[in-house]
């Protein structure tokens, strides 16, 4: 097998909640104690993105999927673990050394209303990154490049002198995609790129992303909560729960035969057009806060198959015969 384009190794990310040293000191039971609290957003994630694929990361809010995206892009620095791009470790590079990777890796954001600078015209928005990464290009080269990306995302080059707020959400997202494509990236992290858009616009943007993948040979890390999109778009899927990957499989395999109890519940919760009556797998309770992680398997509190082992021991991702990797004791023991 060829080496992966991006590999995430043992990634952990904690956000400190307790503030400065003074704020950490509390008075409890007659004595002063230092109390530290942190949100454990990611707790040991290993993922490899192969060249040319679209790896989808799904999960509910608070599962750490966006944190994974932002850490890969260097917007957050990992608390532990490494990020490699094309064999080179990139999470510890500083400004100058990271620059080539900034061009190769781009990001598309969730909210097209916030991801365009309101004080910049479309022309300026697209021109700045090109000039920044290609200072030696002539004005004509820059102009041609802008025209090329605007054309490829289906926006009229005459719109260049207008501002972002003059456009609809779908058009803005196209402009944001054009900005990412302007520097000819190889790898794009898309963080919920369509969830802020209307249904009919979602299809347009998804098609656009798929066209770009085909014509430019892009690799995607696609973050979403929408399983229907994953089924349509993804090559492989990683299902996350409370900062851990609980199932990793080819899209078709995962949708045909979900193994992890959480994946099963998630799949059955999608409202379908066909049936009249919902028949969900009901989960107990809600997602616990990532401040105090449950011991053992993070899902055990809501899992109908949990036993003592699940409450104590953290399950590891283990390959099953179907090609799926599952982190579940019940699956490993054959109980499920």
């Amino acid at each position: 097998m060829t080496s992966p384009l991006v590999s995430i190794r043992g990634l952990e990310k904690r956000f400190d909640l307790s503030g400065s040293l003074l704020e950490q000191i509390t008075f409890e039971g007659g004595r002063f104690r230092r109390k530290q609290e942190a949100v454990h957003a990611i707790n040991g994630v290993d993922l490899e993105v192969q060249k040319g694929e679209a790896l989808c990361v799904v999960g509910e809010s608070g599962c750490g999927k966006s944190t994974v995206a932002r850490t890969v892009m260097g917007l957050l620095s990992p608390s532990a673990g490494e990020i490699h791009y094309g064999g080179q470790r990139i999470d510890n590079l500083d400004g100058k050394a990271a620059l080539p990777y900034r061009r190769k890796m781009q990001m598309i954001f969730q909210n097209p209303y916030a991801s365009l600078n309101p004080r910049m015209t479309i022309q300026q928005t697209l021109e700045e990154p090109i000039r920044f990464h290609h200072p030696d290009w002539s004005t004509i080269q820059v102009r041609d490049k802008i025209h090329e990306v605007m054309h490829s995302v289906g926006i009229d080059p005459d719109w260049g002198s207008r501002f972002g707020h003059e456009f609809s959400g779908g058009q803005r997202q196209r402009i944001a995609i054009a900005r990412a494509l302007a520097v000819d990236p190889e790898f794009i992290v898309a963080d919920e790129p369509i969830s802020a858009l209307d249904v009919s616009i979602q299809a347009q943007v998804l098609n656009l992303l798929m066209d770009a993948q085909e014509s430019r040979g892009l690799t995607y890390l696609f973050i979403t909560h929408d399983l229907a999109v994953v089924e349509h778009f993804g090559t492989r899927v990683a299902v996350m729960y409370l900062g851990r990957v609980c199932e990793l499989a080819d899209t078709a395999t995962l949708f045909a035969a979900p193994r992890h109890p959480y994946t099963q519940a998630l799949l059955s919760a999608i409202p379908k057009l066909e049936d009249d009556r919902p028949s969900h797998i009901r989960l107990k309770g809600e997602v616990p806060t990532p401040v105090n992680l449950p011991s053992g398997c993070v899902f055990h509190g809501r899992c109908p198959y949990a036993n003592d082992r699940c409450r104590q021991e953290v399950p590891r991702l283990i390959a099953t015969d179907g090609g799926t990797q599952v982190a579940c004791h019940a699956v490993e023991e054959g109980r499920l």
Partner: protein, 332 residues
């Protein structure tokens, strides 16, 4: 007589440079215990429609024409005082964001008791008992405890349950739910939707569900109406529309869903986007995005025609029906 009948409702927004028409000629009915879905994308006017049913449109919006008949009385012509007796009491509303309804500095119990006492002359103790009963109905774990908690102490799903409990407090005739689960996670969303559905059936409450999610509509409602640019373009039994949509927009909306496409293939897409209220196209507002648009569509808004049990406003559909009729006549 229908419980709620909206007739030819026009809603406008007075802005600089003239009025914007947010709703044009909206007509629909809601029977007792019926579940009706309002589907549309943002800007279609579905939330305005929901708010105008309660005559709750904030300035600069106003009802420019039409009637909203609730049990035969016109809400559009009622005084603020009369309306207050209906809002929250006979017709309850659930919003997308629970914090729009919940006051963050008061306990759940206080807020529920207050809501009851505003409409009923009973003691605080009795009101509290009603509140507790409703919290039990929405299956909140340890409801006694929740009464003395503040909204921020509850999780998102729990808050939405409280909101539903508040909506049920005064045994309303109608619940209007505006995207009640959009802010929630998939698994929680499914639970809340189940709950709402079961409660409406048990209590025989009519539900008006505003959503952009066709999946939710198809599972919860019996009838649906599809809105586009302030107009109802298609309305009828949910199953019939989902299985065999007539209007090109509804068809497009359904076919654009990722689950309708083959994995890895391009999705069906409707070109362009919903026009803003400032420049609604002439004739059928959908015509610039429609594959079947003719000269006629550009000029005048189509009347409703009936196809099966569905009312559709589309010339193309009307022509097809006409053709079919002629073929049948020719055969006989």
């Amino acid at each position: 007589m229908a419980l709620l009948e909206v007739k030819n409702l026009d809603v406008r927004f007075a802005v600089r440079g003239g009025d914007l028409t947010a709703l044009r000629g909206i007509s629909f009915t809601l029977d007792k215990g019926e579940r009706l879905g309002l589907v549309g994308e943002s800007g279609a006017g579905k939330s305005v429609a929901a708010f105008s049913v309660l005559n709750l449109i904030a300035k600069p919006g106003y009802i420019a024409g039409g009637q909203i008949l609730f049990e035969g009385k016109d809400l559009a012509a009622m005084s603020e005082r009369e309306l207050r007796k209906i809002r929250g009491n006979r017709i309850a509303m659930i919003f997308q964001d629970p914090m729009m309804t919940l006051n963050p500095v008061l306990t759940i119990g206080t807020q529920m008791v207050e809501a009851i006492l505003a409409q009923r002359k009973i003691s605080k103790k009795e009101a509290r008992a009603i509140a507790l009963d409703r919290l039990q109905k929405v299956q909140i774990p340890s409801p006694e405890k929740r009464l003395d908690q503040y909204p921020h102490e509850l999780s998102g799903g729990m808050r939405q349950r409280v909101i539903i409990a508040i909506a049920l407090l005064l045994d309303p005739e109608i619940i209007i739910a505006d995207e009640p689960t959009t802010a929630l996670d998939v698994t929680i969303q499914a639970e809340i939707m189940d709950l709402l559905l079961n409660l409406c059936e048990q209590e025989n409450v009519a539900l008006m569900l505003i959503t952009h999610d066709l999946g939710v509509v198809s599972q919860v409602t019996q009838r649906m109406l599809v809105m586009y640019s302030g107009r109802i373009i298609e309305q009828g039994p949910t199953r019939e529309i989902i299985n065999d949509a007539q209007h090109p927009y509804t068809q497009g909306l359904i076919n654009a869903l990722p689950q309708m496409g083959e994995p890895g293939e391009r999705l069906f897409q409707i070109p362009g986007s919903m026009p803003s209220l400032k420049n609604v196209p002439s004739g059928c507002p959908f015509h610039p995005r429609c594959n079947f648009a003719t000269e006629q569509c550009k000029q005048s808004m189509p009347e409703y025609v009936r196809s099966g049990n569905v009312d559709v406003a589309c010339y193309e559909v009307a022509n097809l029906i006409e053709q079919e009729k002629r073929m049948q006549e020719a055969e006989s």
